[in-house]
């Protein structure tokens, strides 16, 4: 819902003008970033509030818990993509020169968003703070991913450069974020 509101707001405020590829790529990723901040920050807070953390800690190993949360978040963001990206295309009249690569960029980008945000969400839940802390902590960690995703999305819209290196970059970010999270998660989870 948050995503659709933002998307409609963006579409209204540009007033049907056809946007530059640079600009609309940046807008797409801003929408996805803030939506995932709003949605994913709840991932672990819910468990803390409902008091189910202890049971979960007894029942499963930390990496199992992390992978479960991560997969759930990835699924959540993918279904968000299914909603937002077609609407984005319809409302902002954006032509896409490389549709298949665009799909890959969106999927790899959102998977990366989910990976790093899951880890930050675990930290935020333990910190016992609500609201803006999630965005403050996640932004610097996600910035390389966002910049990379924006520039490769622009390439997909225009289709003027080779995309393979960009896809490799996004893939590597995913790998590093996931490995680091798996190594660090037990320190956050166990007390």
């Amino acid at each position: 819902m948050f995503a659709i509101t933002t998307l409609v707001a963006v579409s209204f405020s540009v007033g049907g003008a056809v946007l530059d590829a640079d600009l609309s790529a940046a807008l797409l990723w801003l929408i996805l970033f803030f939506t995932s901040m709003a949605g994913l920050s709840r991932a672990f807070v819910q468990e803390e509030e409902a008091g189910t953390v202890t049971a979960l800690r007894l029942a499963a190993r930390p990496d199992a818990v992390f992978i479960g949360k991560y997969l759930f978040n990835v699924t959540l963001l993918f279904s968000l993509d299914v909603l937002v990206v077609p609407l984005f295309w319809v409302l902002l009249q954006q032509t896409v020169a490389l549709p298949l690569s665009f799909l890959a960029v969106v999927l790899l980008g959102t998977a990366g968003l989910a990976g790093a945000s899951t880890m930050v969400a675990a930290i935020v839940a333990k910190a016992g703070a609500r609201g803006p802390l999630m965005t403050v902590l996640a932004f610097p960690v996600l910035l390389p991913l966002l910049l990379g995703a924006i520039s490769s999305t622009r390439t997909c819209f225009v289709g003027d450069k080779a995309i393979a290196a960009d896809l490799l970059f996004l893939f590597c970010y995913n790998g590093v974020a996931l490995t680091a999270s798996l190594l660090l998660f037990p320190y956050v989870w166990d007390e």
Binding site: A116, M119, V120, I123, K126, A127, G128, A129, L133, V136, L137, F139, P140, V141, L142, L143, P144, L145, L147, G148, S151, A165, F169, C172, Y173, V176, A177, A180, S181, L184, Y187, V188, E191
Partner: protein
Amino acid sequence: MFWQILLGIWMTAVILASFLYMPATQGLGQTGRIIVYHVPAAWLAVLAYLISMLNAVGYLRRGELRLDRQARINAELGTVFCLVATVTGAIWSRAAWGWYWNWDPRQTSIAVLLLIYTAYFVLRSAVSDQARRARLSAVYSVLAFLTVPFLVFVVPRVYASLHPDLINLEQGSFDMDRKMLVVFLASLAGFTGLYAWMYKLVARLENLLDKLEQQKRGEAESER
């Protein structure tokens, strides 16, 4: 005491030399003198952040609060030097490139560094329990440290940098006048000494505060 006085004289000499002894640089002109302050500050910021991150890893492995304190003090000092580097860089950028800030890759990466450590301090202030604060902030600093190098790959692909390079990679040599090199190295040594002294002062202050706290607690217990 001896070392502090020596450091004071040393830094005064460096400041005088940077204006009087050192020649104006080729290409950059008079603005090139800022190299004596800007580069050592940036180098120390990186050094202090690196030490902070290593201490965070050490804390996660051994769980000693002493290491967490070292990580925090180094992060604070690193931020001080990082601010100095950012501000001197912005002033130089006004003179050399026309405006204080224009998102040159170097400016982007230093801004991200500042963002990370701001977030680090926000996280620390949000948690009240000591051990938990130490663990969470250590995890965050390692996570940030691992993802940031990606910026080094993205940013140059998108924007070209205008930042002057100290080390000429093609010739494998320092692009510096002899006199300038002497002043620069002296300044680097002086700044590093300054950092060591600042670190010692803060660590001593914190230890004294700890002792004071313990003493108060002891008195309160004996009264009871």
